[in-house]
């Protein structure tokens, strides 16, 4: 049975209000308290009758902006070779961060170093990712590496990008971000071992342990 138009209208209004509140939270997190696109603006959009005197927090202690930015929606082409996943993941991170907008599977095979560091027999020669970190370093990107738990990797995916490889999976992917409770990945071999672009805790445990190389912000 169809709901009444009044109920449908109320749901639509609630959705618009939820969006405004989410936008206000985003502005708050970014320190935009007053003016256009601010907490103040979204609050007045939610309730134009409100009267208040904004008193934003004190930002007088200056800090450098160290937040790393990347485009999590950037497409990841399917890998051409069966052994080139680490180069594809590296190329995605370089493109997504803007470090090298023209990075490709082939260019990163060359930068990693074929055949000593990557080759058709073994793929990437070291799962610790030293050869990958050397490439990031060439672009001025500082990295760290570790064998992480799912919770550690999920948390990292929320604040930085990088790439990771499951030892059982024998496959490297890049980090797009978080997908609810899962890790959102850029996968150059979608469907391999049943994984597309979202890695659950169960998948992580099934395909790990995972070596993660991430960019320091």
């Amino acid at each position: 049975m169809a709901v009444s138009q009044a109920v449908a209208d109320q749901i639509t209004q609630l959705q618009a209000q939820q969006a405004a509140i989410t936008n206000a939270l985003s502005a708050m997190l970014q320190g935009t308290w007053t003016g256009a696109g601010s907490v103040e603006a979204y609050l007045l959009a939610l309730n134009p009758t409100l009267h208040f005197t904004p008193k934003p927090p004190d930002y007088s202690v200056s800090r450098p902006d160290q937040k790393l930015k990347w485009d999590p929606d950037l497409p990841q082409p399917h890998q051409k070779g069966s052994w080139t996943c680490s180069a594809c993941a590296l190329a995605w991170v370089l493109r997504a961060t803007g470090a090298d907008p023209n990075a490709t599977e082939d260019s990163e095979i060359a930068e990693i170093g074929e055949p000593d560091n990557i080759n058709a027999t073994y793929g990437l020669m070291s799962s610790a990712g030293g050869a990958l970190r050397a490439v990031y370093s060439k672009y001025g990107l500082s990295t760290s590496q570790g064998w992480l738990t799912f919770d550690e990797a999920w948390t990292l995916a929320g604040r930085t990008t990088g790439q990771m490889s499951g030892r059982t999976w024998y496959h490297w992917v890049a980090l797009r971000g978080q997908d609810g409770p899962n890790i959102w990945i850029a996968n150059s071999a979608k469907g391999y071992e049943g994984i597309s672009e979202s890695l659950s805790r169960a998948d992580f445990n099934r395909l790990g342990p995972f070596s993660v190389v991430w960019l320091e912000s």
């Binding site: 939820q18 989410t22 708050m28 970014q30």
Partner: protein, 64 residues
């Protein structure tokens, strides 16, 4: 829109409201960035497309 669709939408709105409430609580407690329960984490849960597009600038918190 039928009853089932309306109920599904209301369930989503309830879930979003719970996340927003938790985000406000995190702000009140000064947990702005990083792993849950932070404002940043709840914001990404509310809208995953914001990942990588937010530049947190949390207030300077006094010690003690």
């Amino acid at each position: 829109m039928d009853d089932d669709q309306a109920m599904a939408l209301l369930t989503t709105l309830q879930r979003q409201q719970a996340l927003q409430t938790q985000a406000i609580a995190a702000a009140l407690e000064g947990r702005w960035t990083g792993a849950p329960p932070s404002v940043e984490a709840f914001l990404y849960a509310l809208n995953p497309t914001l990942q990588g597009k937010i530049t947190p600038n949390p207030p300077v918190l006094s010690g003690g």
